[in-house]
Amino acid sequence: MDDIESRIIELVAKSKNLPASDVKVDTTFDELQIDSLDKINLSFAVEEMFEIEIPDESLNSLKTVGDVVRGVEQLRGATPPDAAKS
């Protein structure tokens, strides 16, 4: 498991008070009972953790933990961390 994936799984698990072992990359938000407010909070935490900005239009397309992992990988690939800080 790569670093981004494990950190996101840990974040998701913590946000729902679950052990990390209960969260897999293909786990859906519906399965985790992540509602719209949870999703906003999770997005904020992910943005803080990886120093990225998730575009509004991408939020609705996030349905699984893997979607978040791939989104972060893409955003980090497109935006070097140092640039995101400025």
Partner: protein
């Protein structure tokens, strides 16, 4: 319709359950203690505060303590103030059995919270202003003064009239008074009413310091050497329902609410005026008389005073008691509980209503903790030294709340002797 109290809940500096609160109250065990001298984000080497004590809630852990458990989604969306309120309401509703006997779609929830999510607000803004930090999306939810009321409704599935009242230090009393009126009028079949507040932030304490009304030692109402108030936090909730339904289902009845009076000083934003407070007390008694209780003033056996411990408040409140009750005033036992709990602003009136109701239930009046020498210039019968049995001939009690801005609220309760 007669209205009674059938459930109680609290999270306070002197107890996180009602039995703990009751024990501390009668033992005179104060929850006021020295706070940590440093605060998160403090820039100076010292706090700059001229006082060192507050009434903080201890042992509150909604993430881990099973009896205070809140879901993670609730914790992240709420300030401590709302969390205290939710737990107090849960206790009260559970104890009363309210939800098993009244239609949850019609039950009311009326809360008092004056400062809102001040702790959350200050925590977020500190990071925003100092390092341009992003503001989390939950900041809005956590700063809403009404979020406690909303989450109580969500947790208990109550969908009647639900609202929060903000009238500074009288919020909790106004909330209970309004709920009483709603149940009495048949607008709601039952209600959960009370207050919650947790605003002991660095900015809040510094602001109060600047007002020069906080005790450099500790709050001791009606003491000749009193030197100010002590700030506190907490929550208390009461379940109100009609007497007949309480009797029919065999609920424990702590006390009856028999009157409510409100007034505004219409005078000054900080200076209290005795005439305003006296008017609220008289109105509470007039309301009591409307319920068929003859000459209620003669039956007052206890006044739980606003009693902040500032030289001005206690003197003006004493003057108000004399104005409202005339020659009866020196003979009515008067006490204050803020030397135990501190002054928890929007929750204070609810915590003091709780103290009053417990006193009536036990027929025993708690003494005012911390008094060194009673201020004899007030010409009142101040409860000091030890608890005193309530005069069985005088079954009424008043609970006064006199807020900054001159907003006064007074509840009248009656002891129901089985």
């Amino acid at each position: 319709m007669r209205v009674v109290v059938t459930g109680l809940g609290c999270v306070t500096p002197i107890g996180n359950t009602v039995p703990e609160f009751r024990d501390s109250m009668y033992a005179g065990r104060t929850g006021i203690a020295e706070f940590e001298p440093s605060f998160p984000g403090m820039v100076g080497a010292t706090s700059g505060l001229r006082f060192k004590t507050s009434g903080k809630v201890r042992g509150f852990d909604p993430a881990n303590n099973l009896t205070q458990r809140l879901a993670s989604g609730v914790i992240i969306s709420t300030d401590t103030s709302a969390q205290l309120g939710i737990i107090a309401a849960r206790q009260a509703a559970t104890e009363s059995g309210l939800l098993q006997h009244h239609d949850p779609t019609a039950i009311a929830i009326v809360t008092g919270c004056a400062c809102g999510g001040r702790t959350a607000d200050e925590g977020v803004n500190r990071h925003l202003y100092v390092r341009d930090a992003r503001v989390p999306p939950t900041a809005i939810l956590r700063t809403m003064a009404s979020s406690g009321a909303s989450f109580i409704a969500i947790e208990l599935g109550i969908s009647g009239s639900v609202l929060n009242i903000s009238t500074a230090c009288a919020s909790g009393t106004h909330a209970i008074g309004l709920a009483f009126q709603m149940v009495r009028a048949g607008i709601s079949p039952a209600a959960i009413a009370g207050g919650y507040e947790a605003a002991l932030t660095f900015g809040f304490l510094r602001a109060w310091d600047s007002m020069r009304v906080v005790s450099p030692t500790s709050c001791r109402p009606f003491s000749a050497d009193r030197d100010g108030m002590t700030l506190g936090e907490g929550a208390a909730m009461l379940v109100l329902e009609p007497l007949d339904t309480a009797l029919a289902r065999g609920a424990h009845i702590y006390a009856e609410i028999v009157g409510f009076g409100m007034s505004a000083d219409a005078h000054h934003i900080t200076q209290p005026r005795a005439e305003g407070a006296a008017l609220a007390m008289r109105r509470a008694l007039e309301d009591t008389a409307q319920a068929g209780i003859v000459e209620p003033a003669l039956r007052i056996g206890y006044i739980n005073a606003h009693g902040t411990g500032t030289p001005t408040n206690d003197a003006v409140e004493a003057a108000a008691i004399h104005l409202a009750l005339g020659e009866l005033a020196p003979h009515i036992p008067v006490g204050a509980t803020k030397s135990l709990t501190g002054h928890s602003i929007g929750a204070a009136g609810a915590i003091e209503a709780l103290a009053t109701v417990l006193s009536l239930d036990a027929g025993s009046l708690p003494h005012t903790a911390g008094i060194t020498t009673v201020d004899s210039t007030l010409n009142l019968d101040i409860l000091a030294g030890e608890a005193r049995p309530m005069d069985p001939q005088r079954d009424l009690a008043l609970s006064n709340s006199l807020a900054f801005g001159g907003l006064n609220a007074v509840l009248a309760f009656r002891r129901l002797i089985p």
